[in-house]
Symmetry: C2
């Protein structure tokens, strides 16, 4: 199916800084599916986005043959199922799939919500968030050691579902280290993840999608300034 899809068939509504958008794009790259990237302007929502995801009004949205699909992990699974002739994204064994889904949910429900506010947090609040993220990274290191079985990725020899789910956060992880002046990924505590992060960003399906740390820092400052200006916090 991959080879018969024209660019016109597949659209991604997104924005470069969003880790959730990056997931959809990596998944399409894994399957060698060409797509049109429709960039949303930060701070505004296109008519197409509002129509395509009326419930959450959020990116990413994948539009395949005119049908919209929202929620990044739903999109990644859809891509895996539709372009099933390409390399599998989810593990083939049901138990391994369950474990990958468990940790992907952990990344969304626990890890990222703690990571996100570190850059602007102070004092005790910041210390508590950093502690949570560090504990999360130790758990993910253990999960990596178990899942990868000595290979480069959570998915083994090639990047899979949890690699995509967690790896999409690496740009923000590094930018948070810089902005928050904290060490998160650490050679001593999470040696497997340090190595994995390098392999992940160098992978052919990922290259060019994880934004440079400096670029994210600049973007985050811009957003913070805009929110301050508008009275939001």
């Amino acid at each position: 199916m991959a080879n018969t899809s024209s660019t016109h068939d597949v659209k991604v509504l997104g924005a470069w800084p969003s880790p959730f958008v990056i997931r959809a794009r990596i998944a399409l790259n894994i399957k060698s599916v060409e797509y049109e990237f429709l960039a949303e302007t930060p701070g505004s929502k296109s008519q197409l986005l509002l129509q395509s995801n009326p419930v959450h009004k959020k990116i990413p949205v994948l539009i395949h043959r005119g049908k919209p699909i929202a929620e990044s992990l739903v999109i990644v699974q859809y891509i895996d199922e539709v372009w099933s002739s390409g390399p599998s994204i989810l593990p083939s064994d049901p138990y391994d799939r369950a474990i990958a889904r468990f940790w992907a949910a952990y990344v969304d429900d626990k890890f990222f919500p703690s990571l996100r506010p570190i850059k602007s947090a102070q004092g005790e609040e910041k210390a508590a968030l950093v502690k949570q993220v560090n504990e999360g990274l130790v758990l993910l290191e253990e999960a990596f050691q178990k899942s990868s079985k000595g290979k480069a990725f959570f998915g083994g020899d090639r990047i899979g579902y949890l690699d995509v789910a967690f790896g999409s956060m690496l740009g923000w992880l590094r930018a948070t280290e810089k902005m928050g002046e904290v060490k998160l990924l650490d050679e001593a505590k999470t040696p497997g993840l340090v190595q994995w992060a390098e392999s992940f960003c160098a992978d052919g399906a990922v290259k060019g999608l994880i934004p440079d740390t400096e670029k994210i820092v600049e973007f985050a400052k811009l957003i913070a300034a805009r929110m301050k200006g508008s009275g939001s916090s």
Copy 2:
């Protein structure tokens, strides 16, 4: 595989009031898998639970051949994939699967978090929560009309993934109506869901699992009294 599994192979760690536990049990019933139900005592956590789900320490946990799986939607998908000879829980079409996954995530991320606090909320806060839940029910009514295509369930002729994800909440929905003195499921605004709720609770795989409204009300009062006593809110 269903017929070769002994009760000993499959255990569910749970508690009768939890909608998330109910999901796992319905899924096993759909596949005609016998299982041992290990009831956790509310307010305490067994050693087996702490060992089986060290990350979240929450029910449900499915233990299959000694291997634990946590997170209710992950469990339901695992059950669907392992006992694949039984009736399918997820739709067979990838787009329909994506839509079912989207709404199941909606139920967990938006619907239930608004429903849960209504019973003890007051004034404006309560009005806002009821409004959110009612808006959610209208969205789910639309999703039902589209997915069911005139049949009894979101999954068509038989209960499927979204039926399980959303239907598991029906006991708490009714108990919330009673405790909060509000009307949520409504013949005028959500006629499809009213009919669906009846069909769902009468289904062979569900019968006996959705607790009576009175029983939940009693349980909720007990928990509220206990939390008040311990100084929590």
